[in-house]
Symmetry: C2
Subunit: 320 residues, 2 copies
């Protein structure tokens, strides 16, 4: 299968390395890479992990037309308030009967139902496993291993930067020092307020609600508060009482539709969600038939996000 990548940052490169490593067993081929900064690379015989970029394609449309790809990977940076330009890229791929895998949570958080229906009409697959928990199976888990199950709600610790910042403050350091640690780990968003004010977690919450609970929501529908009101003094005091704080996403089905919120919650140190430490994340799915089921991802890096893309790709190859 021939693949085209839009965007080639750390995740794209890690994905290309993973494909190279698994090529004998999974003979996928990257035939085009388009970037805003370096230009466009294309080779129908397959590109290297470190491709030579030529002049930029005139447009995404032209890039996709020339690429000859069957699956398009949308890997551009997120504009959190609109989901663009990722959404337009995805639609351009659908219009050409190309399958799409995205690591970009914007489209799923802002417009999932529409994109799902467009993919269906175009007869193509649309996948996004790595948008919420990197490579850990969440969407694929529910679709493939929980037949007949209804997701009644969920609770999760889904943003690593706030986790690192809260841990730093619990250890007596300042919020700014915590942010510095998160930056050194390479996990903070470019605009860190997107993490601290809860918007990254809200986008993930909306994405989960849209896909797993057939929501028609956007991140703006999530009642969102961040961690700015936490202080080292308050966290030390709570710690002495056996309590800890996490930025928790919660969703349940209320009488008037989905109730979603992101909030810094005081948890008992023995609370299951408190097990999300460092950059780990933890999602608890509340189900009708299977009780509460958790997925835990331990300190993921860019390789795990790349694996999320890979697992989506393999699944597309299996179902088409």
């Amino acid at each position: 299968m021939n693949l085209a990548l839009i965007g080639y940052g750390n995740v794209g490169k890690a994905f290309a390395r993973l494909l190279a490593r698994k090529h004998a067993q999974f003979p996928f081929r990257i035939v085009g890479v388009h970037t805003a900064r370096h230009g466009t690379a294309m080779d129908a015989r397959g590109l290297d992990v470190d491709p030579s970029f030529g002049p930029s394609a005139a447009s995404i449309d032209e890039f996709l037309d020339r690429s000859g790809a069957e699956v398009v990977f949308e890997l551009t940076p997120l504009n959190p308030s609109t989901g663009e330009p990722a959404m337009s890229h995805i639609r351009a791929a659908f219009a050409r009967s190309m399958h799409v895998v995205t690591a970009n949570k914007g489209p799923v958080a802002h417009a999932y139902a529409g994109l799902r229906d467009e993919a269906l009409r175009a007869g193509v697959q649309f996948r996004f496993e790595s948008t919420v928990m990197d490579g850990a199976p969440v969407f694929n888990l529910v679709r493939e291993t929980l037949p007949g199950v209804e997701i009644l709600g969920f609770a999760g610790v889904l943003n690593s930067t706030t986790n690192i910042v809260l841990e730093a403050m619990e250890a007596g350091r300042t919020l700014e020092e915590g942010v510095e640690t998160a930056r050194r780990l390479g996990i903070a968003e470019t605009d860190v307020s997107y993490d601290l004010d809860g918007w990254d977690a809200a986008a993930k919450t909306a994405a989960l609600a849209n896909v797993l609970m057939d929501g028609r929501v956007t991140p703006l529908d999530v009642e969102t508060r961040g961690i700015r009101r936490q202080t080292p003094e308050k966290l030390a005091e709570l710690k002495a009482k056996g309590k800890t704080v996490r930025l928790v996403s919660r969703t349940h089905r209320g009488k008037e539709g989905l109730k979603m919120r992101v909030r810094a919650e005081v948890l008992d140190a023995a609370d299951t969600l408190a097990a999300a430490r460092g950059t780990s994340s933890f999602l608890l799915l509340e189900t009708d038939l299977m009780g509460t089921l958790g997925v835990f991802e331990n300190n993921p890096g860019v390789e795990q996000t790349a694996y999320g893309l890979f697992s989506d790709l393999v699944d597309i190859a299996r179902v088409i």
Copy 2:
């Protein structure tokens, strides 16, 4: 699809209730139930959840021949040291080209590779999701959502009775009082030493190693120690130091094959596995491509085990 059940205890009945509840969407039909105690029930049009038992079939062979089933559910109590009679029942089903789902960990712990190969030769499916973590996806998770991933090892808290007993002792009660609590919860094995000495955990460890790491091992290959040497005094002392004890299953690939052990481990209270409290279980899979991935099941009951059988059944219907 027509189903036959061998054994009809709590799990079998919960499974029948689940099938009745989901019948509109998943039109499976139980056409035969065979029990050692109540006799045999058969009806080609489908049996009730509370069937009328007639005289016992002369043998499992005769029961299977008369049932007309396509999928056989092996739900008899476990003989931990041999895997029988479940193994013979499974082979009898294979010999009749019937698919098999079992909730019985013995066969997978004792003879997985052989059974897998026999199923392959017979052209039938062999499934066992509920043997290790009730209904939580473990085997189905790896097979369906982790393509290309190699499992390098695992660590897990997989036995609820010991968890309940250790918690009781941590709270100052005796081992016997903890066992009493576990019995009231209906989770202790008939012979509780099977839990306390680690054999249930060892069987689960062997089952995971056989399936996920292509082991050819039995529970006897697991270096197994139970929790008998733990005391309320010792646990209280550890707790004061921020430590806790769990019966942990661990497996990794050593130079001379799989190294497996079950042991009461002293964990930091902040250790991820310490999040397995009460009857919850937690399995951490160490992988090559996806780092460490965890599956957590919160306080499961018999309904979750029944769901494990159901998810296997739906998957069989999907792949055949």
